[in-house]
Amino acid sequence: MIADGLYYTKEHEWIKVAGTVGTVGITDHAQELLGEVTFVELPPVGKQVRQGDMISAVESSKAASDVYAPLAGTLSAVNDTLEASPELINDSCYEEGWIVKIELTDPAGVSTLMDAKHYETFLSEQEQ
């Protein structure tokens, strides 16, 4: 399942931009590959990140997945609920399973990412 209105990276992160703030999480494809998520490593609020910097690690009993910043900026919020309820990433990866919010240096940078249609094509190429 791919949500519209979001932008996507090749590392299976999504970002939703509202004004100068981008909300980031991992896609349905990524959470499916992980299986049951039991642990999420959250970064400190205020951390400055460049595009591609690691911002989180999501772990299941079988795998660990590093999460990278789709765009550069400063971390303005982290989803603390994931500490007690990491399964939100499986159950609601585009909504309640959001991981961080970034105060973006350049919100227009989304144009360098994939939109829903391109991500879908990207995924089907990976299947082969």
Partner: protein, 422 residues
């Protein structure tokens, strides 16, 4: 007498190509290809519904496992029994027709080449089931023994094995001769077997097997398995009928709660039971033998000779490490333990290494190699997670630790009984 110089056994794995198992079509009907992962050269499903649900199903009802990637070798002829006694650690002469035993193949230095099950069909006709990951290596080893290629006795490098049975890879034959393995495990497995074969599985004792017809498909059925379930069976069925049997078992087993299970549940079940996996609790980074792993009984030192015997005699006297089973907190908010994480004593000294781990219910169960003095059931232990990424390293977490290092425990638990009973 061969003039060829004998060598110590060495085996280079060829570059891994990934094949489909004979059940790929059945799997593709149930899961997307992204759910299939390469394992021992085969594309295998990690899970069908979830690891947790499949694990539960095997403990409460029954689970069906695609074991068709396992290696199956036929060892036949008048010298088969003597050959097997020379190349395996257990005593093959104790097997009656229709009986199987757990055993090991060692090299001359006592390194474990594989853990196997030997099935005695007749005293001149044996079946060896070997790990898929070791099948090519085991074939090279056994065939090389017949060709006098390998040193088998470090004290007598020219010693030959002296026996030459016929060895066939059942995966390379065609038609009805070729057998593949499908396993069904769990308390209700017997009911599924009864509905599919009309055969009462309670008449089959542990490690016994016989020939039956499953919905008119001829097969061997053995009371063996790798989940620790008391009730568990393996079907050895002709390759070209495996998919039919798989689908029939699932269809008829549904009312008993039978579900297909992937590699994830296979691993969490065997870890919960305390069963070893080659490359982790045997051989592997800690170079473990059956003595450390808890299987001294499968090493019959009273046999006059077997390859690796001298090394096992020494190890039996000089053991310093032991495989233990640990119970630790798990579930939400607790970082999963991984192989190589450090095991700490109550005082915070590193006394061992995690070999395998799994989430089972709201706990984590792990198998670890620890100093023998620490291996008492009930002993409290701590776990120190090694750094898994650069940001953890920057926060001061170590990527490597050594024995006796003093470290803070991230989580705490204790030693369980070595094996679980279900």
């Amino acid at each position: 007498m061969h003039a060829m110089q004998k060598k110590a056994f060495g085996f280079e794995s060829p570059p891994e190509t990934v094949q489909d198992t004979v059940l790929i079509h059945a799997h593709s009907r149930r899961v997307k290809s992204s759910r299939l992962a390469p394992f021992a050269g085969y594309r295998m499903p990690l899970w069908f519904s979830s690891i947790r649900a499949e694990h539960e199903a095997v403990r409460q009802a029954a689970g069906l496992f695609d074991c068709t990637h396992m290696g199956l070798l036929a060892i036949q002829g008048a010298q088969a029994e003597d050959f097997l006694n020379a190349v395996t650690t257990n005593n093959v002469s104790r097997l009656e027709a229709g009986q199987a035993q757990y055993s090991y193949l060692l090299d001359a230095a006592g390194m474990v080449l594989d853990d196997i099950i030997v099935y005695c069909r007749r005293h001149y006709d044996y079946l060896l089931v070997v790990n898929a990951a070791n099948a090519a290596k085991v074939k090279a080893w056994l065939n090389g023994l017949l060709n006098h290629q390998w040193i088998i006795d470090e004290k007598q490098p020219d010693r030959g094995i002296g026996f030459s049975p016929k060895i066939q890879d059942l995966g390379e034959l065609h038609g009805h001769q070729t057998l593949v393995d499908i396993a069904i495990q769990g308390p209700l497995a017997g009911r599924v077997i009864q509905s599919v074969t009309g055969f009462d599985p309670d008449t089959l004792k542990s490690f016994r097997f016989c020939e039956v017809e499953a919905n008119e498909i001829p097969c061997l059925i053995a009371r063996t398995g790798y989940t620790g379930a008391k009730m568990g069976f393996e079907f050895f069925v002709p390759r070209d009928q495996a998919e039919d049997l798989w689908e029939q078992l699932l269809a008829q087993g549904e009312e008993h709660g039978l579900v297909p299970c992937g590699l994830g549940a296979r691993d969490s079940l065997r870890i919960e039971a305390g069963l070893p996996l080659y490359g982790h609790e045997l051989a592997g980074p800690c170079g473990l033998t059956p003595y450390e792993a808890g299987y001294a009984w499968a090493i019959k030192l009273d046999k006059p000779f077997f390859i690796g015997k001298a090394a096992m005699e020494r190890r039996a006297q000089n053991r310093t490490e032991e495989v233990v089973r640990l119970g630790l907190p798990g579930g939400r908010g607790i970082r999963p333990i991984r192989p190589q994480d450090a095991v700490l004593s109550a005082a915070g000294h590193c006394v061992g290494t995690i070999l395998s781990s799994a989430t089972v219910g709201d706990r984590q169960i792990a198998l670890a190699c620890v100093e023998r003095t620490q291996a008492t059931e009930g002993n409290p232990v701590g776990i120190y997670y090694l750094a898994r990424n650069d940001s953890q390293v920057q926060q001061g977490r170590k990527r490597e630790v050594g024995r006796n290092d003093t470290l803070p425990a991230d989580i705490q638990g204790s030693l369980l009984a070595r094996f679980a009973r279900f």
